[in-house]
């Protein structure tokens, strides 16, 4: 297996009582609740954690993009990636991902990724996403055109990386007379593109197409959904006439390891429960603005949601039960991860070892335990 250490960089000093006076920790949460001195400490601590992950033997260290939220302090993840390049030697640096539809000129994304690829001499992994629905409230970009803009931005970025410039790009949302990347990417034909997704059959079919074969990552989902989507990708690849490699299949999950199951649960609880209930939880209208999903997918989602009933707070036990998070002794964690690996053939594991308000000392111990007690057994 290949191991990624992924960070969201949540703003841990958030006053949770204040946070719950607002509809979400996103977009409408007053930024007077952000203290720059505490925030600067957060950035320093988190960058240290990412750098330490290389030392512990993680193959990839990863960041991503979110806007106007305490959930993740990286509206510009490339800035963090750039810092990481200077402080690491061999780990791959993954930006998974940039939200393509949110920009009005995707060439800038192509350019910045090309720069990072040069700066790191080919250590960059890119990720192409659409952003969470909240991002469309934050950016003002019309979610109705999210899919169209994503597809078109993807085509433009890949063309910018691979076609000799200058060339003209004639699209619907993007029209550019001159596309001519300086610098060109270091890796040829271009840096790897990962597709993190909550899962949808359209995305899977698109990512698995023979001309792309993009590694697909199921994020923040229960084990049944992870298995279902990864097997859907595998099946889709077969229909395209090839066998998906394990490195094309991955999933992302918060993981916490301690000596015993009891201790792990005790130490992880606050981090897990704040991640899902305080940082991530947003109302339906923010999470899924119209068009973010196709009309037919949205109808299915609404039906599913009706069947599930309205959600109260998630308890850690419930999240462990569904396999959305993996918390326990080294043996428990190894068993759960290897079971999902064996059920799907996926070999790309994206771990989130700091989550919610989990403090630095526990994060460090979690990382060390994972690296020494879990990683070697799953390799």
């Amino acid at each position: 297996m290949k191991f990624t250490f992924f960070h969201l960089m949540p703003y841990r000093p958030l006053d949770m009582a204040e946070r719950h006076k607002h509809r979400a920790a996103w977009v409408v949460l007053p930024n007077s609740l952000y203290d720059p001195k505490k925030g600067a400490d957060e950035y320093a601590a988190y960058i240290d954690q990412l750098v330490y992950a290389e030392e512990l033997g993680f193959d990839v260290i990863a960041v991503n993009e979110h806007h106007q939220t305490a959930y993740g302090m990286m509206p510009a993840p490339n800035l963090i990636a750039s810092a990481l390049i200077q402080r690491t030697k061999k780990a791959k640096i993954a930006v998974v991902g940039r939200a393509l539809p949110l920009v009005n000129n995707p060439v800038y994304i192509a350019e910045e990724f090309a720069m990072l690829d040069n700066l790191s001499r080919g250590r960059l992994i890119t990720g192409f996403v659409r952003g969470i629905g909240n991002e469309y409230h934050a950016s003002g970009i019309n979610p109705f055109f999210s899919h169209e803009r994503y597809q078109e931005a993807h085509d433009l970025i890949v063309a910018a990386w691979t076609r000799p410039g200058p060339f003209a790009f004639e699209g619907t949302h993007y029209n550019l007379r001159y596309v001519n990347l300086w610098p060109r990417p270091y890796q040829q034909p271009h840096p790897p593109i990962w597709i993190p997704s909550m899962g949808s059959s359209e995305t899977i079919k698109w990512a698995a197409a023979p001309e792309r074969k993009y590694p697909f990552l199921v994020t923040f989902s229960g084990r049944d959904l992870v298995a279902r989507y990864l097997n859907m990708y595998r099946e889709q690849a077969r229909q395209f006439g090839y066998e998906a490699g394990g490195d094309q299949l991955g999933w992302a999950s918060p993981v916490y390891v301690a000596d015993t199951d009891e201790r792990a649960r005790e130490e992880a609880r606050a981090g897990i429960e704040t991640l899902f209930n305080d940082f991530l939880a947003v109302p339906w209208e923010m999470l899924l603005p119209p068009g973010y999903m196709s009309l037919s997918s949205m109808k299915n989602t609404i039906k599913m949601r009706k069947a599930l009933g309205s959600r109260a707070r998630h308890s850690m036990e419930e999240l462990i039960e569904s396999g959305t998070v993996v918390v326990g002794s080294p043996r428990t964690v190894r068993d759960q991860l290897s079971r999902l690996r064996d059920a799907t053939g996926a070999t790309n594991l994206v771990t989130m070892l700091q989550f919610g308000v989990l403090p630095d000392d526990l994060t460090k111990r979690n990382m060390e335990m994972f690296a020494s007690e879990v990683m070697p057994h799953l390799r």
Binding site: R23, V27, V28, Y136, H137, G140, I141, N142, P143, F144, F145, P283, W284, E285, M286, P289, P290, G291, L295, M298, K299, I302
Partner: protein, 259 residues
Amino acid sequence: MAVQEHKHTVRDVSVRLCRDGEGESLLFLHGAGGWPAWGPFFDALARRCQLLVPEHPGFGLSDNPDWIRNVADVAMYYLDFLDALEGPPVHLVGHSLGGWIAAEIAARNTSRIRSLTLIAPAGLRVKGLLSGDNFIWSPEEYARNLFYDQAFAERELAHVPSEQEADIALTNRYMATKLGWEPRWFNPALERWLHRVRVPTLVLWGRDDKLFPSAYAKAWAERLPDSRVDIIPECGHRPHVEKADLSAQKILGFIGGRK
């Protein structure tokens, strides 16, 4: 005369159309909430006019052509629609999104329009007076913020939609997003061209509108060459629902007085 519902086709686009009454034609363009249920407002209008209420392309069960990308496309569609109608020019009435569409039509061509009534129209932005964020509102906030008299909101909230009603509401929400998300409920170019609306115009607004503040009415009046403003007290964003008879009277009075 009973309300007749049928499919109405203009060029290659077919929409639902309700028709009732006799006399001069009045074309009502609905808001982003979709094709309105037939109620006292329409009854009152249909007693004096031939009332036509189409469901916009992209909404409900009407055709949803991909080429409709923005409100200007809808306005062009309705210019075709008006050209294809038999008889003399019509009284054009639009609510909210429908008011915006009506203004875009009238700024382009008034040869098929006799008078214009804008009820709490979208389409203009007044700096410093933000519209309400209907896209972030919960269903309860949405219902409550659209009415002054909360009994109307309670009634909406108590209604359990059928599967088809729920599907239509979702379709409408998608189309509303396509047309209104960005820039939020306005066309920056429209204000420049409102002097071209060369027909008498009534701007009708609920004083307590929480979606588009009634203070917007002044901005419309300043730019429309022949307009009058009428603000209805104790009334939210849907005067034709909340003050159905009064709204109909005001429109009929305006139309009648302008003959």
